[in-house]
Structures are given as C-alpha cells and as structure tokens.
Subunit: 385 residues, 2 copies
Amino acid sequence: MRWLSALLICVTVTLSAEPLLVEKQRFTLDKFTTENGQLIAPVNIGWEAYGKLNSDKSNAILITHFFSGSSHAAGKYQPDDATPGYWDAIIGPGKAIDTNKFYVISSDTLVNANVFDKNVITTGPATNNPASGKPYGLSFPVVTIGDFVEVQKALLDSLGITKLHAVIGPSMGSFQAIEWAVRYPDKVERLIPVIGSAYIDNYSAIKLQRWAYPILQDPAWHNGDYYAKGQPWQGLTTALAYITQDALHPDGFNPRYPPISSDTAIHQRIEALPLAWQQLLAQARLRAEKQDANHILYLVRASQLWRAGMGDNWQQALNRITAKTLFLPASGDLLLPPALSKHSAGAMSAAGRQVQYAEIPGSFGHLDGVLGISAVAQQIEALLN
Amino acid sequence: MRWLSALLICVTVTLSAEPLLVEKQRFTLDKFTTENGQLIAPVNIGWEAYGKLNSDKSNAILITHFFSGSSHAAGKYQPDDATPGYWDAIIGPGKAIDTNKFYVISSDTLVNANVFDKNVITTGPATNNPASGKPYGLSFPVVTIGDFVEVQKALLDSLGITKLHAVIGPSMGSFQAIEWAVRYPDKVERLIPVIGSAYIDNYSAIKLQRWAYPILQDPAWHNGDYYAKGQPWQGLTTALAYITQDALHPDGFNPRYPPISSDTAIHQRIEALPLAWQQLLAQARLRAEKQDANHILYLVRASQLWRAGMGDNWQQALNRITAKTLFLPASGDLLLPPALSKHSAGAMSAAGRQVQYAEIPGSFGHLDGVLGISAVAQQIEALLN
C-alpha cells in the first residue's frame, strides 16, 4: 500500500501546484428582446467553463455571479495570476463542485459592472450601440434578473445543454439561480441560492438607491452621457465604497481601517474627513478603473426590481420550482440578512417544496458567501451528489 | 368603597385628560471653551423641567437627547399640541420616571439639529457670531459629546444641583449620559444608556459620514456659507432620509412605503426613481424646514468622535463610573446594534462595576428606544427606586 499512499500524495501535490487554467469565450446573440419590450442587437457576453461536458450533456452546473463579480468563478487565466476566480475554494477537481464529475459553466451578465476588465465581455450602456457607433448611455433599456437568465439560456441552448444538474450563485447570483428554477423547472434539478433571497424588500431597494445617489449627483455624470468626457469618478468611487461597507459585517470591517481615536485632524477641523473614510475611498478608486458608473446604475435597478417570477407574487412563483433547494445565507450578513433567505425558504416549504437551509459562519457578513464559502462545502457537495 | 372607585376613575381621567404643561427656558453661558481649545461666547441653550426640585436638591434626573431630538422629552407646551415630548410615555406623574417624586430636567445640546424650531434654543454654525454679526458657519469649532456635557453641567451648577439621581438618554443621549458618569462619578448615582454605546466603531463612523456626504456634495452647501442664499435642501433632505431609514428595522420600514412590485415606471425608465424613495424624501423635506445642514455635519462629527472619556481608551474610562447602570439596547437596532451595548456593559462588568442589561423588543429597530420605550418602563422604574 505504500506506493498507493505515495501516489495519492503525489496527486494531491500536483492538484494544488497546477491551477485550473481557464479561457474566456464569447457568446453572441444577434438580437435580444428585453422583458420590458426593448430590442438589443447584438448582445455579447463572456463565459468560461471548468471540467468536461459528458456525452449526454447531463452533467452541467451553472454558476451565476454577484453584483460586482464576473463569470470568473474558478481557476486562473494564466498560472501567475495573483488570485483565482472567486469560488475557486469549492470549484475544481476533487472539490465540492467537482470538475472531475461536472461541467461547470459561468457567464458574464448583461450590464456587468466590470465592463473595462479585459476578461469581461458584456453588453450595456458603456458598450457601443451599432446603430449610432457610440455607447448606448441611458438609451440602453432597463434590464432585469429575468433578462440575465434569458441570455444565459440562449448560451446554454447554443451548447445543446437542456438540463442543469444545478444552478448555484451568490447574492445577485442567487436571484438568477432562483429565477432559472422558477422559469425552467423542468431544466433545473438542484438550486443553491447563496447569501440571497427570492425578493428585494423596500428597505433593501432604498439601500440600493443610496448606492446610485452619488453617481446621479455627480455633475460629471452628465445624465449618463459622459463617455467622451471621462467617468464621474467621485460618484462611482463613492458608490463602490458604500458597496464595500455594506457587504461587510463590522467585525470584518473595523480592523481594516485606522481607528477614529487616533484621527486627530477630525477633532480640530470640521472639513477634515476621517482617515478610515479616505482609505475606503482610495481602495474603491482603484476598483473603479475597471467599472462603469452607468453599469452600476443598471445593476442597482435590476436588483431593485428583483422578485421571483418578476410578477406581482413572488411566493406564488416559488411554487413552480421543482428543484431540490438549499438556501445558504451568511449569519452576519447585513446586506441580504438571513431573515430574507428564511422567509424565502419558508414560502417554498409552505408550498410543500423540498428546501434545506444552513448558515455560513464568519466575521465578514455578506462577503462570507464568497470568502467563507468553504465552511459550507460539505452541504453543497451533499446536495449535488 | 364605591365612592373610592369613582374617585380613582376620576383621578385617572384627570391625569390622562390634562397633559403635563411645560415651558422652554433659556440658559446663557457668557463664554465656553471647547475640548479642542476654542472659545464660544456666548452659549445659549434651551431647557425644560417636569416635577419639582426638592429642598435639598437631591431628586434631579437629567434626560439627554438623541441626534434629531431636543430638550422636549415630555409634556406639551400648549394643551392642543399635536404630540407631547418624545418620552412622554415614561416621564410624568405616576409614570416610570415619576414627576411626583423627581425633578426631571432636559436641555438642548450645542449644535442641535432643530435650530429653526421655535421651541429649540441652541448655539452652533447657524446661530449668529456676535463678533461678526453673521452666522458662524464652519468657523464654529468642532464640538464633542464632552462639550455637550460641560454645557449641561454649567446649567445644573446655575440651578445649584450638585447630585443627579440619574442620567438617562437614548442614542446620542446615551453617549452624553455615559460621559456624565465618567467625568462626574461623584455626581451621578444612576445611569441608563438607552439604544446606545460607550464608543463609536469605524463601521458606524463611516455610516455617519454617509449621512454627511449628500450635504457636502450639494453645490448649494457652498462650504457651509449658505445662510444668505438658502439651505442646501437636496443634501439636507437626503441626509434626513438616510437617518430615517437607518433608525428603522426593515419590519418597521417596509409597510410604510409602496412596494416596488407596483412601481411600473422604474421598470421602463432608468431615470425614474422608486416611489418609496420619493416618499421617503418628501417626508424628510418637511422635517428639513426646522433643521440646518451644517448642524447635521457637526452632530455627525460629535457622534463620530464619541468614546467614553474622549481619550484613547474608552474601556479604561468606564472604570471611573460608580453609578448603578442599566443598558437598554433595542433588539432590532441596526444603527447602534445590541452588540455595542453588550460590549460596553461587558467592559464595565469586567472592571467589577454594577451593570444590568435588558433589550427593548419591537419592530422599529433603533427607534424602539423612543417609540417603544414603554416596554422597559418597569426596568427603568426599578433602577430609579
């Protein structure tokens, strides 16, 4: 048996030393009609996949991304990339979402936040409208979680994938995952909404509006028509700073910034800004380089409009789901708190659906659904197998 | 016994029919030096009192007000006032803070938010600087919770009150109450911080900065020098809307506004603003009439700088407290959550201090410390007697 142990160790070393290498691919849809009846032509989105599609195309798992995320859910584009995709801890050979078994696919949404990231392909207000040769700006139609799902479905149709072993996504990705299971119950066998919810309440919709506010008020926003002049950096940066704070629990947030007690300038001058605030903004400014202010506004709107089934009654829409479901909120989440997941899971249980519920522990709040996902790897693996 | 019953009913009716009538009084301090070494001359603040000061002046209870509040803690100025002071449910004859026994006194802070309310007297950036004959604007010094306490102490000194049976206050009022007990342990016999904390963490300080942001970004703010031109209404209104939301739990917030699902305009036009947001702003605009944008900035700063003892180590400062203490956070508070009260109470317990802790139930979050205070009337009464 000694040689077997040695082989296993060898395999393990190889697994951790060689990152999963992935390649961004482009999907083009010549034309797409949005839920509110507008035409976008063409739509381009990026996608990537890990593992191999089996011969009967029955082993596909779709991963749907969060507000600030992209299709880069796992692996690296180049071996020396600084970090892998956001859920690399659970996606890969031998991991909870095992790419030795499953074909894991993920796509960029419409109006993706990171439109200026070279590894993101999306269509939105910052991309060129072929009819005018200029960026769409606010002429781009309002799009919804339902629209994100329809574009993904067109991609999967193009690959001949008609069944999904599972749809899994964190935060805004959970909205898409739920909408998949509501719209296409016969195609979705398992559903895992992580740090998510089947609806957005008024309270959350207005918190989202507060992300939009600094952009809308920035004079450089120019009613969305700023592409020839440069972005509304102040508004965009402030919005991204708010998103960072709202995605964190105080326990995860506080140690990252200098304490107010050592901040003497703000005690002397009312005009002085807290150092912690300045640092938060400086970090956001770096991230802003890859993002677009209008895309943030469109993502805010898509999130505000979210309710399962996109109709009047999200509870009734959930009744259509036949997928085996596992809700995974994060215990310390202040952005989409566990109460929303519980309420969503409760509505499904009440309708006799199979629903499981577990909480992700940690001190990062909402972000535990990304950074701390390993804590629920076993529950995810169990639902998939 | 029938006549006794009749008499009791009669007394009860009389109690509820005749409101406690109160009168606003003015206290002037010729000059005051702030914690950061600046001179304000003179300082004027308003105050009011309920009950009678006994002959040895040993029955005084000080009530310290919250961020958006004033000295109007109980009673009415006129019998036909629409509403009484904010804690009328617990202050009055026969109530938890019994004005048949206690002389209850409350004063407006420096930089009070409601500087344009005819029943508020305060000194701050919107009041005239006698040296220039014009409002101070940003030349008004940064003031702290410690400064608020020192002005209150001067008021009590002027009345010959050298001992306080108790200091009690909600939210920013809890900061003042704690600072009283830290600075003057020999004067404060009992301490009840309601929906409060002995310090502000980075997370809360930055949330407060987000209240300031819309004012600072409003072009009509003119670096605080807007008194001849009119207020930065948009910034002020937005700040007040944020304060309203942050003081409420979603369970208390959601039913007040029209649901997003019935809001069709936002699905059609990206420029449309959610109806719920519009209503929240409209309500805030009405409140803005009595408030001043710079005063909000100064209150934000005073709150950001808050830590017991105003030094490097708030835990050590709490060791100076000798008052019997009762922390009363609200269970659903998302602004100053129970964790902060627990942490504060824990630091006092660790130092061998007498600390009690109870939570205020309710669906209004932070506001349960004002609207739902009756729920802990018994605990308050027990500590006082």
